[in-house]
């Protein structure tokens, strides 16, 4: 209980880059802190008040002002660029990243893997493979934070946010909710368990449902009779959905929108908000009929409906 740890575990690809940048800032900061504090102490002692000596009035020095404006400016631009580079890496998941869906609610994390397994407050991932989390909240804003991976992202109601990481070390790491979310905020915690790929495959196949997320989505799609309007035929009342995810959609009024998870979610819940060009706003809303988990299933299913050939 009383061991003192001064450095967090480092278990993702980005973690060591973040640590290097942190170290750089630490060195620069330490340099300026030591410089200023030393000067202050030396001056305070050397020029302490003595009856025989008077202060010397100095108005300033333009060369010094320029010097201590330009040097911090250059250093801070290096920091900005370096930090921005890491931010851009974190903002863009690799195309081959494995997708996992996360739903936050007061005060637990619900995780759904594409192959079917569901877990609560635990996330199993393979080591060495990029994993992308697609996240939403059922109530207030939460934040999915894994200190060992040096990454976090807010989890918002009514939209999807995403984050990605590539674990580099097997083990069990803290998962925290980092955005204050009410009474049980500090209990909205769990673990990310990083496993060897073969162990992970074993774990996945040991999942209870035996049915993948997309299969569950397809069943739901059929049960709700979505195909009667979105069957893919040119005469259908709704636009075709094959190859939709990731494509650019032209809306009534000429605007275009990228068909990401948030767009699809919105189009199911508020179909009249963004109507595809050439179609009538006749789709009824499914608000209140589908849970966040159901929506995830349908999205996972639609993602499997890729065009057999050519561009997505």
């Amino acid at each position: 209980m009383w061991e003192l740890q001064l450095h967090p575990e480092s278990a993702s690809k980005i973690a060591s880059s973040v640590d290097s940048l942190f170290l750089f800032l630490l060195v620069v900061s330490a340099f300026f802190t030591v410089l200023i504090v030393t000067l202050v102490i030396v001056f305070a002692i050397k020029y302490r008040r003595r009856p025989e000596r008077k202060s010397v009035q100095i108005r300033g020095d333009l060369r010094l002002e320029i010097l201590w404006t330009v040097i911090p400016l250059i250093l801070s631009m290096v920091m900005f660029g370096w930090g921005a580079k890491l931010y851009m890496i974190q903002a863009r998941a690799p195309a081959d990243a494995e997708e996992v869906y996360v739903v936050g609610k007061q005060w637990m994390w619900k995780i759904q893997h594409l192959n079917g397994p569901r877990e609560i407050n635990e996330l199993h991932v393979p080591v060495g493979r990029p994993v992308r989390l697609i996240m939403t909240s059922e109530d207030v804003i939460h934040d999915f934070y894994v200190p060992a991976f040096r990454t976090k992202m807010d989890v918002l109601p009514d939209t999807y946010t995403s984050m990605w990481f590539q674990a580099t070390k097997t083990g069990r790491y803290h998962l925290f909710c980092a955005e204050y979310c009410g009474t049980g905020h500090s209990t909205m915690i769990g673990h990310v368990i990083v496993m060897e790929p073969h162990e992970y495959e074993d774990w996945l196949s040991g999942g209870v449902s035996g049915q993948s997320l997309a299969e569950a989505g397809e069943k739901l799609f059929t049960r709700l009779a979505c195909h009667t309007c979105h069957g893919g035929k040119p005469t259908d009342r709704g636009p075709p959905l094959t190859g939709l995810v990731g494509s650019t959609v032209r809306l009534t009024g000429g605007r275009t929108v990228k068909a990401n998870e948030t767009y699809i979610r919105e189009s199911i819940l508020e179909p009249k908000k963004k109507v595809v060009e050439g179609y009538e706003p006749i789709m009824p809303t499914y608000k209140g009929q589908l849970s966040e988990e159901d929506l995830i299933k349908i999205i996972a299913y639609l993602k499997t409906k890729t065009k057999p050939e050519g561009k997505r």
Binding site: M1, E3, L4, Q5, L6, P8, S17, V18, F22, L25, S29, F32, I36, V37, V40, F43, Y47, R48, R49, R50, S55, V56, Q57, I58, R59, G60, D61, L64, E65, W68, T69, S76, M77, M79, F80, W82, G83, A84, Y87, Q106, V140, I141, Y145, P147, R150, K152, D154, L156, P157, F176, A178, E179, Y180, G182, T183, G184, H185, S186, T187, I189
Partner: protein, 546 residues
Amino acid sequence: MTTITTAEGDAARDLPAVVVDPDENYLNTSYTVKSWLLTHDHKRVAILYLLGITLFFFLGGAAAVLMRLELLTPQADLTSHETYNKLFTLHGVIMVFFFIIPAVPGVLGNFLLPIMLGARDVAFPRLNLLGWYLFMIGGCFAIAAMVAGGVDTGWTFYTPYSTTYSNTHVIATALGAFISGFASVLTGLNFLVTTHRMRAPGMKWFRMPLFVWSMYGTAIIMVLGTPVISITILLLAAERVLGLGIFDPARGGDPVLFQHLFWFYSHPAVYIMILPAMGIISELLAAFSRKRIFGYGFVAFSSLSIAFLGFLVWGHHMFVSSQSVYAGLIFSLLSFFVAIPSAIKVFNWTATLYKGSISYDAPMLYALGFIGLFLIGGLTGVFLSTLGIDVHVHDTYFVVAHFHYIAVGGTVMAFLGGLHYWWPKITGRLYPEVWARVAALTVYLGFNLTFFPQFILGYMGMPRRYHVYPPEFQVLHVLSTAGASILGAGYLIPMVYFIWSLWYGKKAGPNPWNAKGLEWQTKSPPITRNFEETPIVTEEAYAYAD
């Protein structure tokens, strides 16, 4: 600025001769309660503010003590989740809206700005008094909300938690902040107009003390920024009370919009806290090294550029909020620009000491301590501006430590330093110097022990606003709590000797520090109209010759 000659010209000569009691001052003109509660004297309003903020400081401090005690162990032992959440909300709301923001402008700004400019009062004395009443009424709302059961949203009131999910007294608390916001606007307005219109003859812009420059920068933010938080609070109330869909997505609103509006004020509010502190430090360093501030013009303009840039960086609180990646890049870049004028100030302050004649009186100890703490606070702000690092440490104890280094290590240290420096002017009495030095060192050590471990906690991944936490964080939490008890003692010592000095302190005389500046050219305590004769300024600020 030393020379005061009798104002020449007909206007001065035609004034009726006033019989002046040589012992009369602003404190002993009348002792009635009414003379205080209806005063138009900026100095008495300043004393009223001092009473108000001291009350709120110890209230907010009590909440902090309870939190630090609770955090001694990883599990919950002292309070429930609900109570802990209400404690950190109370601490944040009270300390931000009712202590730090009004502290320096309300007390030292009100007392000193007119005297430093050679004016008889602020431009609108009645509005000044009204401001204090609004501040106290706002504070009463916050206290009433606490007594009625408290509020648990955090001082940031993030939606949709605050509008839809919290079952606590959100509206009463937010209204408290809303009402006291008007006090901020009135103070800012008064300072701007007073600085423009009421400078004594010869008080040119670049002869003004740097404290006035920094209050001027602060006043701009108060007048321009505060209305935005007022509007935001009204929108929050509209959603919570009337059910209008503004921020809650379940009603068609956008929760991130709230964060934009909230930080558009609350980031500049950080500069409302730190700019006045910077002004105090400039005064203290000049007085106790007997030197003109090095690079006066650069220090003055850095205050204005911080005030200006402060309005352009709110998005750096939202790097992981789902805000656009490109917005994140721009807010990060602009945040680095704020670091430059801050660095300029630190370098110029350090250079001011060079070849000075430095004494170690208590106010100077606070000023030197400020430089060290502000350095750490400012540099860790650079860490947080750096995108790749902020993603990791955002919403952790690293942020908590950073803003306490700025707001407590910076502003409270400077406020205490300023209070010690001007205490003889305000009360006419000297405090016991030895005790004051002991207190300054106690505060400095206690502060560092409280908050430095929190940087490490943050980098380790300890999220803020956690009532219970994993056991590996305990050692650092224990250190922090130990520091807090020292810090608490450090704050109580001055309370005792300041009150003691009112009766038993030595008489200060007009200028105990032998300092420059118009405030030292009048009596201690000053007479109600500040100066017997309107001073005529013939020198720049800090015209030290020895």
